[in-house]
Amino acid sequence: MFRWLNGPGSVFRHPLPGSTNYLNAYDRNGRLHRAKGPSLEKTEQKREKDQDEDDDDEEVDEDGEIIPKKTQKIKEAKIVETKDGPPLPKENTEDLMPFPLNRQFRSQHVLSEELKDAIYERVMVEGQSVRNVSAVLGVEMNRVGAVVRLKALEKEWEKQGKPIAVSYAKAVLRMLPSTPYVPNDPITHESINDLPVHRATEIQIFHPVSESRHFTRRDAGRVFDRELKPAEDRVPHTELVQLQKWRHEGIISEERQRLQREKDSKDVQSRKVLERKRKEREAREIKKVETERSEFRFQDIRVESVGRNGRSQDGVGARYGVPHQDRKKGQIKIPRRVA
């Protein structure tokens, strides 16, 4: 073991400057695959191929206009400068596999600090919608939300004067592949229109239809499940599909932008209405009684909420005749959610 650790394995002792440093990037003798001279062109070709295989996505600029996707080519083409020896080419997908036996797992790119800052800036300072930021920067919507949350936490810490682990962050980000932030043509970080595979579609169905029938995606969905909506309604960014449809209909770009804005404002309106309704319902259902010490809230509960066996999570209070199961074997007593 120590022969390996001090020999070929010694390359893993310290991180490779400016690059990732995974097992699959090296051969048996501890030499970088991509640093070898003759295979350079081959890796170039392979990289091209890998990129073609990557999922294709487009980006939308600030006005909601669709522009063709910029792949990570710009970044890939960059060459890492090392102090000793010739410059290293950027790693390809093969080099990003930390487990040599598992070729289906890759270390995927993470957001760089600049990109996180840009996301926070756009959402919190410029007030853009999460949906828009997600489409423009090619970052999933829930990731955008998480970044804003985490950056807000960081700002809070700065305000409180808590020490921030800057050196750790720098060191870790240097070891990981990261998506840089290019202000004018952002690089797509991940595929934003992921369609979750519905449980009902996991089976194969033989469904004969007449030849003359125009059998669409919507119809196929209904065959699987009566409630199953077609893919264009189930993807996260339905508005991108709508934009493309308008474009296909030949609507000019100003018109499209106007339509998009209208749609956005309508969405905002409907959300506000829903929120108002929720509040109204709450005010109607919860009776508040102010005392000098505390506020009592009275709410009607339904006796059926305990479920058929009287043990449902939503049930309220101790129920006569239903013994607790918490002492029974195999009961999970750790919290299920933290609000």
Binding site: W4, G9, F12, H14, T20, N21, Y22, L23, D52, D55, E58, P98, F99, L101, N102, R103, F105, Q108, V110, E140, N142, A146, V147, L150, K151, L153, E154, W157, G161, P163, I164, A165, V166, S167, Y168, A171, V172, L173, E190, S191, N193, D194, L195, P196, V197, R199, H214, F215, T216, R218, P230, A231, E232, Q242, Q244, R247, G330, I334, P335, V338
Partner: protein, 419 residues
């Protein structure tokens, strides 16, 4: 801890950054399954994969967690969705038109569903902490949780088996993270820490005897924020200088030659700055430095565009002392000064810490460093958000497992309970 956690004879891969584990990872092979019964194959596959995934979870618990349904997604192209309604797939003889041979689309990569067998274990809090690179092993992550260094959604969570829900944010105490991921102290650093602790305890005992003394922190340097506020800039610089000296004096092998050179350059520059009393009285050194540095960067930016504009750039400084300062220090010196000053602020020498200071990542870490996509990690505050459950997508499974599809399939088969 069981015996031979990282065995060298019978290879068991573990969720840890240990060098033994790295060695095992470098030489592990898929077991030869010729002339073995299906049961034997499944048994081995189960044993190998369970040694990696949730080995602290008892088998009964895991079989309850196991789900045969596997989450997956398909990335959709919104252009395709807008332009086609799906009826084109029934054209021709019923299965879509045959494209001309030169325009044949590339075959869609297969979705490695069965590599997702252990997806439920990735929901566990301790595993998520390890995946977010906040601990060097799942066992250490578990310890952090149990010892109360971890918060979920801002509340302390002491159960390592807590199943994260999508949207949950977990935080680990940054000092623990630095300890877990940082290089360990060498014996000189340990001795320095011991000495300091002894001094501190003596001081406190004396203070207790005399009167109600305010509690003194054992820290040698104040935290980076307070450096600039409660000390004069001169003192700050002096303390930084002494720190650098101390660092160079220690016979530790951990300092690289480059870093030593940087430190020496930094010492020189600080001494020069300290030698000018006139400037120190006028403004705070800190802001002065900041201003000079800012000036230097703007000047450098302006240089390629319009070289003659550089000459009036320098005299625009607020005070004549600063002007003189900018004139005397050249750009490389300033850069060194700035870098070293920043570095020393962010990453001070502090013998009271349980890790080697200034902090540097531990050895062998880089081979294990990856962050799966279902987590969004913010390293600066040592917090992460569990975005969603891991999913499989064409050509890619999000569950980090060291074994390939073959072994995972066998393991999945084992837990289907039809042996």
């Amino acid at each position: 801890m069981r015996k031979r956690f990282h065995g060298l004879k019978r290879i068991k891969l573990r969720q840890s950054w240990n060098k033994y584990n790295l060695f095992n990872l470098s030489r592990v092979e898929t077991p030869k399954n010729t002339e073995r019964t299906f049961f034997q194959q499944k048994w081995t596959a189960k044993a190998l994969t369970r040694a990696y995934h949730g080995e602290t979870v008892r088998e009964k618990q895991w079989t309850r967690m196991f789900r045969r349904t596997i989450r997956s997604v398909v990335p959709m192209d919104h252009r395709m969705l807008a332009e086609k309604d799906g009826s084109e797939q029934a054209e021709g003889r019923g299965s879509g038109l045959e494209p001309p041979p030169d325009q044949k689309p590339k075959p869609f990569p297969r979705t490695p569903y069965l590599n997702m067998t252990y997806a439920p274990t990735e929901r566990r809090l301790d595993t998520a902490i390890f995946r977010a690179l906040f601990a060097s092993s799942t066992r250490q992550a578990r310890q952090f949780v149990v010892h109360g260094y971890v918060k979920v959604n801002g509340k302390k969570m002491i159960y390592p088996g807590y199943q994260l829900n999508p949207g949950d944010m977990f935080q680990v105490e940054p000092d623990r993270v630095l300890y877990a991921t940082g290089a360990p102290k060498d014996k000189f650093e340990r001795r320095a820490g011991r000495k300091m602790r002894a001094k501190y305890s003596k001081k406190t005992s004396m203070a207790e005897g005399s009167e109600d003394a305010e509690p003194q922190t054992p820290k040698l340097d104040p935290p980076p924020e307070s450096t600039s506020t409660d000390k004069t800039p001169k003192e700050t610089l002096q303390s930084l200088l002494s720190q650098a000296k101390e660092l160079l004096a220690t016979p530790s092998t951990s300092l690289t030659a480059k870093r030593k050179q940087d430190l020496r350059a930094f010492q020189r520059t600080v001494r020069r700055t300290l030698g000018r009393p006139a400037t120190l009285t006028a403004t705070s050194l800190d802001s002065q430095l900041g201003e000079i540095v800012a000036r230097m960067t703007t000047a450098r930016k302006a240089q390629p565009a319009s070289p003659p504009s550089l000459a009036p750039e320098v005299p625009e400084l607020s005070t004549p002392e600063l002007q003189a300062e900018a004139a005397t220090l050249d750009s490389t010196q300033l850069k060194t000064l700035r870098d070293a000053l920043n570095d020393a602020r962010e990453n001070p020498v502090d013998p009271s810490k349980p890790y080697a200071t200034p902090w540097r990542p531990r050895e062998w870490m880089s081979a294990f460093a990856f962050v799966p996509r279902y987590l969004e990690v913010h390293q600066r505050v040592c917090a992460a958000v569990y975005l969603r459950h891991p999913v499989a997508r064409p050509g890619l499974a999000e569950v980090p497992t060291p074994y390939g599809t073959e072994i995972n399939t066998l393991a999945h088969n084992w837990y289907l309970r039809r042996r």
